[in-house]
């Protein structure tokens, strides 16, 4: 009964909240408005925006040294999670069945295990750093911890579900993922989408000024 609810209506509900919430958040950023820049540009804003959107994936020397731990942990977590989310066999099947209608090649089992380990190490390092480093401790809000905690639980139950192929664990994993989807638009997890805005806005200004960043 609960299983059917999690698999059915609650899934659609959480997906709906996620999609509408994300769109609303993006809309509410654009709605605030931005005054046009009247200064005579030296370079192109749009190519600056595009450049910054991608160039920031590579860290600058200075942060690569002083902020090495955050950076390495950040890469491990994001790359591992990306691989799990889009290339773990059960996920590919799930998307094909419920969303896209088509599948794509999935990671082999050992690939899944490595990605999961990488993502776990990254996430735990980031969380520890958040708790222990004076700067991140000062900056962190309850939202940062809730979001990290939820992602951690979703990943954990996901791994357990895969290893045991035990139905209640699959449902628990799905249920937590659904909670995460609902929480997503209200949290800093929104950076998954808004980073493109931030990078492009800054890049456009730099591009207009002729700074190749």
């Amino acid at each position: 009964m609960i299983g059917a609810f999690i698999d059915g209506p609650f899934w659609y509900f959480s997906l709906g909240v996620f999609c509408i919430g994300v769109l609303f958040r993006l809309f509410s950023i654009l709605r605030v408005g931005l005054k046009p820049d009247l200064a005579l540009p030296r370079g192109s804003g749009s190519s600056g925006a595009l450049r910054n959107l991608f160039s920031l994936f590579l860290p600058r020397r200075d942060v690569a040294t002083r902020g090495r731990l955050t950076l390495v942990a950040g890469y491990l977590f994001h790359l591992g999670l990306f691989a799990l989310l889009f290339f773990a066999r059960p996920h590919v099947d799930f998307y094909a069945e419920r969303i896209t209608g088509f599948g794509w090649p999935a990671l082999p089992y050992w690939g899944f295990i490595i990605s999961a380990e990488i993502a776990f190490i990254g996430l735990l390092l980031l969380w520890l750093h958040r708790l222990l480093h004076p700067v991140t401790r000062l900056l962190s809000t309850a939202d940062d911890h809730i979001a990290t905690g939820l992602v951690f639980l979703v990943m954990l139950t996901g791994c357990l579900a895969l290893a045991q192929s035990f139905e209640p664990l699959r449902l628990l994993h799905l249920f937590l993922a659904e909670l995460l989807l609902i929480y997503f638009p209200f949290s800093s997890l929104m950076h998954t989408f808004t980073f493109a805005f931030s990078r492009s806005y800054s890049g456009a200004v730099m591009g207009r000024k002729g700074v190749n960043a």
């Binding site: 950023i29 005054k35 805005f197």
Partner: protein, 424 residues
């Protein structure tokens, strides 16, 4: 200054645009921006983390622009901003940020924190929470015409000296000249050799130029303190003078924030594009050099390095010109490990040097520059901003270092090939 909390909060709210909304939405509180800011790296005080300096604005954004924030306000669960927050953050907003924008370069989600601080200062200055030194400088700029109190009389006296020393005539209020030159007060008072260098270079290169008696001051205290009204008034004076003289270009001097103010913020402040173009003196010298009008002779082989003024290079886009020019006259030019758009700031820009209260902190964070220079081992540093120059000189003196600071324009003037010796 009177405190007007409500006005400050209202102004702060008005500053939140799509960029700022996207930035706050994106921040993941990773703390990487701290590693790029000399106020944090040299003190290890987490309060100096760039994004933390924006906490008052973040709270306002949250309350006004987010679902949870609005919800919490409705239920009376959120803590509204108080005067105490302004009082507590004033030091972070003004004393510990030069708006150098180094943090903006490293943020993984691309937040332009320096832009946000510039906006946050609008709210703080409206509320009356700004350093007394900066308030006085802004007042002098609006009433006397210069933040340092330099009058037309003082300028004329400085120009008379230059005319005597060079034997050249310095054009004033010349209708229809190609270029109108601006100065920063710091140059008129502390570095008149800049004016002399310009006069000599322009004479040699045959540049048609003038100075306006109505608007010769380039620094803009309105930008630094965060008052768009004051900033617009100051820019407006330059625009009126340039447009009534009918010049084609206005030359921004070797002063970083002056350049940002007149080149990038000015048209937005007055609400229309200019009927002339703004060019930084280094861009102009580079152009003159490349077209062969400015000819240089000889070079120095003293090992020297270049301190990139943040507002000219990282925030202004004049990155290659100083290097091209230096390459022509200095064979011993070496770059610091972090240079160009990633250079560390001098610690005194953005009005920090006009804020006496910040002096101790400013001298402390100068250690960043000291380390850069120690690593390189050179004893000559060239720069292109009068404010950087004075701040660097003070830091060097305080740390008892053996480093000489010179202006790039002067260095070029020292290697000027005079027309009579030219072969063209």
């Amino acid at each position: 200054m009177e405190h007007d909390f409500a006005k400050g909060v209202e102004e702060l709210g008005l500053q939140i645009d799509s960029r700022i909304a996207a930035y706050f939405s994106s921040c993941i509180h990773c703390g990487l921006c701290a590693e790029a800011c000399l106020f944090y790296t040299e003190t290890d005080d987490p309060r100096y983390t760039p994004i933390y300096k924006l906490e008052p604005m973040r709270r306002l954004w949250k309350a006004q622009h987010t679902f949870w924030g609005k919800f919490a306000v409705k239920l009376g669960l959120s803590k509204p901003l108080t005067e105490q927050d302004f009082a507590d953050w004033e030091e972070l907003v003004y004393d510990s940020c030069t708006m150098c924008g180094r943090c903006s370069m490293v943020c993984p989600v691309g937040n332009d924190i320096a832009y946000m601080i510039r906006k946050e200062r609008e709210g703080f200055s409206s509320a009356g929470y700004s350093p007394v030194g900066m308030q006085e400088a802004t007042h002098r700029a609006l009433t006397i015409g210069s933040p340092m109190g330099v009058t037309l009389k003082t300028l004329r006296a400085a120009l008379a000296h230059v005319e005597k020393d060079t034997g050249l005539n310095i054009p004033m209020d010349q209708q229809g000249a190609d270029y109108m030159t601006l100065f920063s007060s710091m140059e008129i008072v502390n570095f008149p050799e800049y004016i002399e260098s310009l006069a000599r270079i322009f004479a040699a290169a045959g540049v048609s130029w003038t100075i306006s008696s109505e608007a010769f001051e380039a620094t803009n205290s309105g930008i630094q303190i965060g008052s768009h009204q004051a900033a617009a008034e100051l820019v407006g004076r330059v625009v009126n003078a340039a447009e009534s003289l009918g010049v084609k270009y206005v030359i921004s001097p070797e002063c970083g924030h002056a350049y940002s103010a007149i080149r990038w913020e000015g048209p937005n402040l007055i609400g229309r594009p200019y009927r002339f173009q703004v060019i930084h003196i280094l861009e102009l010298l580079d152009e003159l050099q490349k077209s062969g009008r400015l000819q240089l002779s000889g070079h120095t082989d003293t090992p020297l390095t270049f301190h990139d003024p943040c507002q000219i290079v990282r925030r202004g886009g004049v990155v290659e010109s100083p290097r091209d020019l230096l390459g022509k006259v200095a064979s011993g030019f070496v770059e610091m490990a972090d240079h160009g758009t990633m250079n560390w700031c001098c610690g005194g820009g953005g009005g920090v040097s006009a804020n006496e209260r910040a002096e101790e902190l400013r001298l402390k964070v100068f250690d960043r520059k000291r380390k850069q220079l120690d690593e390189l081992g050179v004893t000559t540093m060239v720069t292109a901003c009068a404010n950087c120059r004075i701040v660097l000189e003070e830091g060097i003196e305080d740390r008892e270092m053996n480093v000489e600071v010179i202006g790039l324009t002067e260095l070029l003037a020292e290697h000027l090939l005079l027309p009579e010796k030219r072969t063209d």
